[in-house]
Symmetry: C2
Subunit: 467 residues, 2 copies
């Protein structure tokens, strides 16, 4: 328990002091030495520690005394209100996807894949291997573990269009999760008070990161084939924005994938406007009927800043993401990321690299694809059967979510609350809109635990909606 | 290598396309089926992938063609200059402490403890245990693993002054390292454009985090017994600042520890001014001749926001820190930290908790204390012997650094460069000043590898200085 004899003495004296009236004189050093069988040095050290803690005070030539101390009381932190002032940049409330749900609840709201969808065996063996390596004791370079940088670059390089130069390992910055990457990218490319275009609806975490940075969001409506490119071009022109945040593949929440025509047109607009696309390829490993086809694979002039996380496909405990950017943009992102987090745990980077380079990784991804297809279709069938009022415009080709529109008269707040009372957790779609929602939507996540209960869950939603 | 037969076909076709002139027609589906012994579904899938990648295009009723593609060329990212504009908030350059040094260099500049000073056995066994636990597969609550929150609270509670209420687990927010904690705290308590008082000299990472947030730093000079409290009070009055960042124990870089009188006076000033102290207790586990005696242990009215990192004492690969704050301040810090990083890897939190709750942890800390004392004294002796020009005002009672003043005529840039040429890595003190340096200082870190070479390193510094 105790570090040393002086610490032991400190503990004994603290007990005595706790019951002594303020101003009581402590026994002399000589007495303490005798009573506690310690050396005078130990006594001096203990008294120094207690003095440092503000518990006793020494009056030279007189003795050592218990300081007057206030009676324990209810805390009053009201003074902080004046010191803190009003919130400069209000942050949106956390979406329900971030809340934990009890085990006995049917969850259609999780933001993270269920354990069945994770490469458990690979993750455990990677942690065991890394435990024996030097990665658990070392600091890594700020831009990341070189081998992991190479891996991120090679993944994108393997699908880069012919004639374009593939990204280099040095174009990669490894991040402690994509959330901090979004912050760094928005600060680096846009900055406080400046406009940024953003698909609507889109990932609430991106809306949150933008709010934290103080970016002015300009929503651009997106449908099953991608954003409305006419509106996109007009928004660039009218706002002077130089960046556009989007999910070209398996958009969260809608599951949409940009058509080749939209992709081509967006690239033209970016070049024409001298603007960045912040491509959040969050579901790269979560394709169902299609592969992710990143915009970054069609650009080598630095217009696309590409963000890819491993948190959802490797494990929620392995907070590792990579951003691929070229030119000055990459330098700014790296500098910002360093100021924000210095570097990413080398242990987590090594675990991530170990998992994605095992032969079992590809096998795992194939199995996930099958499972996601089954889970998605379970919910789709349940919707058709029990909730015909819900309209799903886009059957997602990848990702973890269904985006279902409900009748305009639906009271979403009440629906979510009543479903929760009946043991079904769902997310109102409002959190996925950067501005006012354009309709009443539910985001139904099909990656949560216990897919066998999805049908019953949707049935309950239907009952509650009609009640 | 390949996920499926369609991926294999994609790879084959990409090779063919890479050498084909733009506009070439691809073989028909029937031909591809026959030549590659695959199903028509596979061919269609491969063609869809290539279309998605922008490599081919289909002209309905005619056939599929290789798209025109630009010749690989040198990248021109000049357009980004206009899109990015000038840097809104210039970040200071990274201090030399963050640079890696080659193995054959005598390093007196590291910012992180050498491997000999880390609890290697504890860290490895913690990672092995955690590999078998559920922590490697789960997401944790945003405020941290409850047991780790409790541990952080109990560490401070054990030394809280009698009569004051000890912090609760719910006052703790677990952070992915103290750097991101500094950002969250500065954003939450101060905000962009607002003033914050800061000890001078102080940790360059805090100066960096403040620059990123856009905080206006107001330096308060600090000596061997702490800050000049007269100047501190005046700076609060003149600037209207509501927060003060400081290291009351084992200050980085100077090693100073606030005297009980200074501590008491600072608390009075904080109460009087309705202000926060951001106490960075970075060397809590690195006391040498004294224990850390945190200001937070003498305050329960929410004036002290207490930051403690485990990265330096557990392992640089275990990026885990905790902040203890009470009242609305804690809510703001938690919300900001969530917007910045969502949550901290549960695997790293579990490893940290495992290490600090092993019986071997206390033994390890005692051994570190001995080693640091020896290392510090080695450098002090070497300074007396080889570099009498250096003045060390404060023999550090804890921490990892000596702060040595050199004659005012010293050309620090040249000294550092010339020492580097002679194989000795040292840090010019300028990075530790929020504003202009007040003298020519070296920060000599005594926690780097190979302490046996410290004497020779200091001898070389002396030779270079006198050359």
């Amino acid at each position: 328990m105790f570090n040393s004899s002086s610490e032991r003495l400190v503990a004994v004296l603290r007990e005595w002091i706790a019951t002594a009236p303020a101003g009581s004189q402590l026994p002399s050093t000589r007495t303490l030495v005798a009573n506690h069988e310690v050396s005078p040095v130990t006594v001096q050290k203990a008294l120094r520690i207690l003095t440092g803690q503000g518990i006793i005070e020494s009056r030279p030539g007189i003795g050592t005394f218990v300081r007057s101390h206030p009676v324990a009381r209810a805390h009053d932190h009201a003074w902080q209100t004046a010191a803190l002032g009003v919130v400069q940049r209000p942050l949106p409330e956390l979406a329900s996807a971030q809340r934990a749900t009890p085990n006995d609840v049917i969850s259609l709201q999780s933001g993270y894949p269920d354990r069945d969808l994770l490469p458990e065996r690979l993750v455990r063996s990677a942690f065991s291997r890394v435990a024996r390596s030097d990665a658990v004791l070392q600091r890594t370079p700020a831009a990341g573990l070189p081998d992991l940088q190479s891996w991120f670059a090679s993944e994108l390089g393997a699908i880069t269009a012919p004639g374009l130069s593939a990204p280099a390992a040095s174009d990669v910055v490894v991040l402690p999760g994509s959330q901090s990457g979004l912050g760094s990218i928005f600060r680096s490319l846009v900055g406080a008070g400046k406009p940024m275009l953003i698909e609507s609806p889109t990932y609430w975490g991106a809306i949150l990161a933008a709010a934290q940075v103080g970016v002015q969001l300009v929503p651009v409506p997106a449908g099953p084939h991608g954003p409305d490119t006419g509106q996109l071009d007009r928004a660039f022109e009218q706002t002077g924005a130089r960046a556009f945040y989007a999910h070209p593949n398996f958009a969260n929440p809608s599951g949409a994938q940009w058509s080749p025509e939209v992709s081509q047109r967006v690239l033209e607009i970016l070049k024409n406007r001298g603007a960045f696309l912040v491509e959040d390829d969050w579901a790269k490993d979560l394709g169902i009927n299609a592969e992710s086809s990143p915009m970054a694979a069609r650009d080598d002039s630095g217009h696309v800043v590409y963000l890819r996380s491993l948190t959802k496909s490797v494990s929620p405990a392995v907070r590792v993401a990579g951003v691929i950017a070229r030119g000055p943009a990459r330098e700014r992102i790296l500098a910002d990321n360093q100021a924000q987090s210095m570097y990413v745990s080398g242990a987590l980077q090594s675990v991530a690299l170990d998992v994605v380079t095992q032969p079992g990784w590809r096998t795992h991804l194939r199995s996930v694809r099958q499972q996601l297809a089954t889970r998605r279709d379970l919910v789709l069938d349940a919707l058709a059967q029990h909730l015909p009022e819900a309209h799903v415009e886009q059957v997602p080709l990848g990702g973890l979510n269904l985006w279902a529109r409900l009748p305009d008269a639906t009271n979403l707040v009440q629906l979510v609350r009543d479903c929760e009372m009946r043991g079904v957790a769902i997310s109102a779609g409002d959190s996925w809109f950067p501005a006012e929602p354009t309709g009443r939507f539910l985001r139904l996540n099909f990656a949560g635990p216990n897919p066998g209960a999805f049908n019953q869950g949707v049935e309950i939603i239907g009952q509650v909606l009609r009640a």
